[in-house]
């Protein structure tokens, strides 16, 4: 169980987070509305040069199709660039450790993994990737996937904004997301991490003789820059195989709290961006309150066990509380970084983690979390809102059959890409091939792998053991569909909102900004999203709990 002081810790962190997010949100809105700013002097020349070189017409507004496909295609270009580096790292510079090239299937899986903001890793970075790969493949894609996520969310919000004529220009949004949002934020975060003890070097690993005379290699590299974007961008792909459990990636309680804060920052800010951008700040309420009520439910479930996650899998410097809290946060914002081994988690903590990944909006990955929450709001307005005695409307816009169709299709993607591959993994013998069983623990691991891939989360049990053609290709496909199918569908939904007739200022409308609505939203999400997967949880962590497991070590 959780103690009073720990509840206070969380509350304090969230208060600071909400205040910071509010201002970050204000800044993000200014950036994407292209309002003039004192920073223009610095950024405008750089950006204008980029637009000129890349032939971008900054005044061209894009419809949903053009926006969605520009995002998808540039991501594919970026994947190709990263794939080139992964597959040729042996001959490329910055490879002091002389690591060899990655296999085609690991490359396929990893470029999709990083480009889709999933960061599922079927390798241990410190023993696999050259410095160049860590920087110019991993960090590069972490920046672009984070930028893409913010852009598509902003584009969706534009669809709901009154008076929008288009969804904006993807290229301009993308450039500004890098130059004005991610690079500056990551710079601050990276310098903080450096000061707090995280390394950043290109000089190769240091071999030392320990106090007792043994030989040891200190695996330092460009870690601080990676940690900053992996947390701010809710990417989650660590420098090391052990991710943020590895001391050099997350050395102290301070860096741990800071990383939790960083991964919550943009997803929370985007809740506020919604209201600020559409000019109705109150409309951020269901999105923010809904997300954080669900987050609180996640936490409550994770903290049921007493004592909370002790022993194996837990880093001493973090302890059970901080490790469990991290696990909930990392799945709530679909970051996927870990500061402990998932094997060390109690089944309840894993149930909470599943909830975060099923919902994807608690507050979810930056960008996509907001998109999902808007989708849930529309679905709730449609089903439950009918009971207010009006045909459903959101922000004064009537919800049409086509909107509902898009929402239901987006809704359908997730169970489809989790359940089918899980089944295939067992039926084809791929699970058995890597030693994963069908019992409570094994099933949890497989279900978690595909849920994490589908939700673009990236935390997983299997890790390097899943570095086989089947698992790499299967998770690669799941990650790709889990990312782009909902984005394209939800941008289509946003596109349909442009120019829609609005009935505004009528007292008869359902008040989505009310707390009542937020509560109903949360209940709807639990019934429609979480319970859908209940039979599967029953075969995994729930079964494990009833069988007396307190973690996932052992059979």
């Amino acid at each position: 169980m959780i103690s009073g002081i720990e509840i206070f810790d969380i509350a304090l962190l969230l208060v600071v987070l909400v205040i910071t997010s509010w201002y970050v949100a204000e800044y993000i809105v200014r950036v994407f509305e292209r309002r003039s700013s004192r920073l223009d002097k610095i950024f405008n020349p750089i950006e204008n040069l980029i637009y000129k070189v890349s032939g971008v017409d900054t005044n061209h507004g894009m419809g949903w199709k053009e926006y969605a496909f520009a995002a998808l295609l540039i991501n594919i270009v970026q994947m190709a660039l990263a794939a080139f580096i992964f597959m040729n790292q042996a001959i490329l510079p910055l490879n002091p450790q002389h690591f060899s090239d990655l296999s085609w299937h690991l490359t396929f899986m990893q470029v999709i993994s990083f480009a889709t903001n999933t960061n599922l890793q079927h390798y241990a970075g410190e023993a696999t990737l050259s410095y160049l790969s860590q920087m110019s493949a991993v960090q590069f894609l972490q920046f672009t996937s984070a930028g893409t996520g913010v852009c598509v969310a902003i584009a969706m919000v534009r669809g709901f904004k009154k008076g929008s004529k288009d969804l904006g220009n993807f290229y301009v949004d993308f450039v500004r997301s890098l130059t004005r949002v991610l690079i500056p934020l990551c710079f601050i975060a990276a310098v903080f991490m450096l000061a707090a003890g995280v390394p950043q070097t290109l000089s190769g690993y240091t071999t030392v003789t320990t106090v007792q005379g043994a030989t040891q290699t200190v695996l330092a590299g460009p870690v601080a820059s990676l940690v900053s974007i992996m947390q701010i961008g809710t990417n989650g792909g660590g420098y090391y195989g052990a991710n943020s459990a590895y001391p050099l990636e997350n050395p102290t309680a301070l860096t741990d709290v800071a990383q939790i804060f960083l991964m919550l920052l943009l997803p929370t800010a985007l809740c506020f961006v919604f209201g600020k951008m559409i000019g109705k700040e109150k409309e951020s309420r269901p999105i923010f309150i809904g997300a954080y009520l669900l987050f609180a439910i996640d936490l409550a479930i994770a903290f049921i066990p007493n004592p909370i996650n002790e022993g194996p899998g837990i880093e001493t410097r973090f302890g059970g509380f901080m490790s469990t809290f991290w696990t909930v946060v990392t799945t709530a914002v679909t970051t996927g970084s870990v500061n402990s081994s998932l094997y060390g988690m109690h089944p309840f903590a894993i149930i909470a983690a599943f909830m975060g990944m099923f919902i994807q909006a608690t507050p979810g990955g930056k960008g996509v979390g907001l998109m999902y929450m808007i989708m849930y709001v529309i679905l709730t307005v449609f089903i439950v809102g009918l009971m207010s005695g009006r045909t459903p409307e959101y922000l004064g816009m009537k919800i049409t059959g086509r909107d509902v169709k898009l929402v239901m299709v987006a809704f359908l993607v997730h169970p489809l890409i989790i359940i089918i591959p899980t089944l295939v993994a067992y039926a084809s013998g791929a699970a058995a091939a890597i030693g994963v069983t069908g019992d409570a623990n094994g099933f949890t691991q497989v279900l978690y792998e595909f849920t994490s891939a589908a939700a673009n989360n990236g935390s997983d049990f299997l890790g390097t053991t899943a570095n086989t053609p089947f698992w790499n290709v299967a998770t690669g496909i799941v990650m790709f569909l889990g990312r782009y199918a909902p984005i394209i569908i939800l941008l289509a939904l946003a596109g349909a909102m442009i120019d829609r007739k609005r009935i505004e200022g009528t007292a008869a409308a359902l008040k989505t900004e009310s707390f009542t609505f937020s509560l109903v939203l949360v209940a709807s999400i639990i019934v429609l999203v979480v319970l859908t997967f209940f039979p599967f949880l029953a075969l995994g962590p729930i079964l494990g709990f009833f069988q007396g497991h307190i973690n996932f070590f052992g059979p």
Partner: protein, 154 residues
């Protein structure tokens, strides 16, 4: 996309911007941070390396692999299931090792206890729970009791 424009004009931003984003996120930024790190935080940037008698013996944050009974030990790696290099133990774990160290070195229990207590770390204000860094404790012991430890360090 409008049909009026040529394919090339559609492809150009995709490819050029794709490459520019690689330059910004994949090279410029990590190089920038490397520069800042090496210039302003060289100790941290290079892995928080720790010296003993002028010799680099490891990283402060990486378990140094103590095995001798005269030292504090980190957790046994084979069953830890954690990062495997966790350099820290809880004060309670440290206390439980004190009698053994005391009998091996002759340093009194109370001295060892106060060393453990004085070197608790891990809390950031009210966050986190206290722990002690095994390497840190052992280096203190080596410095404080050079005569005892001279045989045990290489």
């Amino acid at each position: 996309m409008s049909d009026k424009k040529s394919w090339a004009s559609h492809l150009r931003p995709l490819i050029v911007l794709g490459i520019i984003s690689l330059l910004i996120g994949g090279l410029f930024f990590p190089f920038l941070i490397t520069g800042v790190g090496q210039a302003f935080f060289p100790h941290q940037a290079n892995g928080d390396l720790v010296q003993l008698n002028g010799r680099t013996v490891g990283s402060y944050y990486i378990d140094n692999g103590f095995t001798s009974p005269v030292f504090f030990h980190a957790r046994n790696e084979s069953t830890c299931g954690c990062s495997g290099v966790d350099p820290d133990i809880t004060p309670q774990q440290a206390y439980s090792q004190i009698p053994g160290i005391s009998s091996a070195t002759g340093i009194t229990n109370s001295t060892l206890t106060s060393i453990v207590n004085d070197n608790e770390e891990g809390t950031f204000w009210i966050f986190g729970s206290p722990y002690v860094n095994v390497l840190n404790l052992n280096l203190i012991l080596i410095r404080e009791y050079p005569s005892v430890y001279t045989n045990y360090t290489k």
